[in-house]
Structures are given as structure tokens and as C-alpha cells.
Amino acid sequence: MWHWLKQNFLPVKFFYQTSTMLLPWLIFLFVILFSYGMIAGLFFAPADYQQGDGFRIMYVHVPSCFLAMGIYFVMAVSAFLTLVFRIKIAAICMSCSAPIGAWFTFLALVTGSIWGKPMWGTWWIWDARLTSVLILLFLYLGFIALQSVIYSTRARERAGALIALVGAINLPIIHYSVIWWNTLHQGPSISKFATPSIAPAMLYPLLAMIAAFFIFYFIILFIRMQNKILRAI
């Protein structure tokens, strides 16, 4: 079973062909979800009872946060596959994900900051959630820096994989930071198992935006990976 999987689905060539086939569909799906999320979120969703229209920044902020953590999770899984099974495509996926993840983490911090000034009254505060996300950004930047100074491909991939795995400890810390400690940042709204604390008319555009952002990540990731593969040949 494992051998069969490795023979048929993990070679670089299989990835290249499949992703070329998938890309147009992903772009199509992205355009639909993104335009629905944007229009419904910015124009049709009702204003919040406390924040008024200011809450609409969450349609960018929340998906960015999901991606910041989701991309790191993808990197950690790829790192594991790289270290244990020496799968070539996983190493490529890991190093191509890092800059995208870094940018989305940056976007999450910036949009949060812009929202924080009028709502909380401050651009920045050293509470557990904000600090742990800042550490996530530094992990991304550290990973990118490390990748760029090691010349040998093998050493670069393994060193990067190690850093990606070690940094994965930060993910549960980010998620539970608002529960374990007193923070200024609010608790989770949609990722808790009970009913979400967002009204449905506000929630659906948000879910569409989250899906659209994830698809966007895969589009960019596939293009970057294809470029990297072509350059290596």
C-alpha cells in the first residue's frame, strides 16, 4: 500500500501534471468564493451592534490568521515527511510555503492592529495572542533566512524541516493563548465546537472568505512549486 502510494502519487512528475490540471479549476473556484465573500461581507452583511461597520475588517483579518497558522501546519507536516521518508515533493512544498505564510501572518498582524486602534484603543499590546503570532512571524522569517544561507540542497531541506517542526509547538500555544491566559484579544468565535457566536448573515461571507483564502494559498503554492521544479531541472 505504502509502496504503491509512493510509486504513483509522490513523484515530482505526478505533482506537476496534476497541479497543471487543477490550477484553472482552483482559480475559477477562487474567483467565485472571493467575489461572493467580498460583496456579501462588505455590502450585505448587517453592521455589528457594537462595532458598526468597523467589524468588516474581520473578513480579511480572520482568514489571514487561519492561513498564517494553516500554512505553518502544512509546513510542519511536509517537514515530517521530509525528515522521515525523504520525499522530494514535501521538501519543495515546505520551502515554497514559507514566504506565503510569512506574508499572511504580516497581514493578520497589520489588519488586527488597524482594527485594534479604534476598538480597543491601542495599536499594539503585549498580550499572549498578539505576542505568539509575532513569534510565528519570526519563525517564518527565521526559516526563510536559514534556507537562503545553506547552499547544499540536502542540508538546507533537513535544517529547514527541523526548524519547521520545532516551531510547530507554537501553533497550539497561539490557539489556546486566549483561553489559558488573560488577554485583551477576544476568545474564539467560529472555531469552537458549540454553536458559533456570529450571526449567520455575518458568518457565511466569512466562511466563503476563509475558503477563498485557502484556495488562493494553494494556487500560489502550486505555481511556486512548479517554478521551483522547472528551475531544478
Binding site: 451592534y49 468597523g54 522521515v84 499590546i125 509547538i169 477576544q186 476568545g187 450571526a199 455575518m202
Partner: protein
């Protein structure tokens, strides 16, 4: 999977477990420093001698009083068990209102009980604030729906 790969899985999981325990212990030891604020109850029960302090809680209903010039405001921060009076001179954030969560930074003004020096009492502790931040909760409700809810049952929340 061959033996070599099993060995690698084993060493990686050992590394992650050891690292997880180490970081868990560090975070647990630093719990007091990572917490952004004291709740009123935590402050009253604590033996901290810090003068500059941050507390968090809810603005007590009907406790907000502006002075005649409108520049300075008095209110009470409560966690529904203990209360701390706050005086603040400056601009309040948008979300500040009665019943709202707030995080207040300021100087502790207190007269410690003469008989038991390390024990704080709620009535004798007050804060002269330098910064008031509003804490937003995780609920998002349409403005129109909220009005309806309030009309329907005045004691709903």
C-alpha cells in the same frame, strides 16, 4: 516502512515530546507574567507590591460618572465578585460602555489595612488610570437584531 524510517519517527516524536514538556513548564512557570491583567479578585487576593498595575473586568452598570467638565471619568471595574474603583483622565475607546469588558492600566491607590498589612480589601483599593482599553467579546450580532432582542425581553442579557 523500513526500520530506518521507524527509528526516525521515534526520534522525532521523542524530540517533540521533550520540547513540548520543556516549553509547557516554562509557560506554566511564567503564567503570572504572561497574564495581561489582574482581575479584581486576583488583585485583592495577591500580595503584589507593584504600584503600576493593569486590571481587567467589566464596567459595572450605572457606575460611570463624568465630572462637570467632561474630561475626567469615574467608574467601577467588577468581575461580579469584587470591585475596584477607577478614575481616568483622557479619551475613552469607541467600545467603552457600561457592561463592557475593559483593561485598565494605572497606579494603585490603596490604604492597606493597618491590622493585617498583607491583606487587601475591596473597598480600600482604587486605580488612577493612565490608559483604558476596551475588550471586545467574541459575539457578533447585527445591530437591528440586537435592538429587537432588547425590546423583546429587557432582562435577556
Amino acid at each position: 516502512m523500513n526500520r530506518k524510517q521507524k527509528m526516525r519517527i521515534f526520534s522525532i516524536s521523542m524530540m517533540m515530546i521533550a520540547l513540548g514538556i520543556a516549553i509547557g513548564l516554562v509557560l506554566f512557570a511564567l503564567k503570572k507574567n504572561i497574564n495581561l491583567f489582574y482581575t479584581p479578585t486576583q488583585l485583592i487576593e495577591s500580595h503584589t507590591t507593584q504600584k503600576n498595575i493593569r486590571i481587567g473586568g467589566y464596567v459595572k452598570k450605572k457606575s460611570v460618572h463624568f465630572d462637570s467638565s467632561g474630561e475626567s471619568v469615574n467608574f467601577i471595574v467588577t468581575d461580579y465578585r469584587n470591585e475596584i474603583a477607577v478614575n481616568y483622565h483622557g479619551l475613552l475607546p469607541n467600545l467603552f460602555r457600561e457592561g463592557q469588558g475593559v483593561v485598565v492600566t494605572g497606579k494603585l491607590i490603596e490604604t492597606l489595612d493597618a491590622t493585617s498589612r498583607e491583606k487587601r480589601s475591596a473597598g480600600m483599593t482604587a486605580l488612577s488610570a493612565t490608559e483604558v482599553l476596551a475588550k471586545h467579546d467574541e459575539r457578533y450580532i447585527p445591530a437591528t437584531l440586537e435592538k429587537e432582542l432588547k425590546k423583546g425581553s429587557p432582562h435577556a442579557r
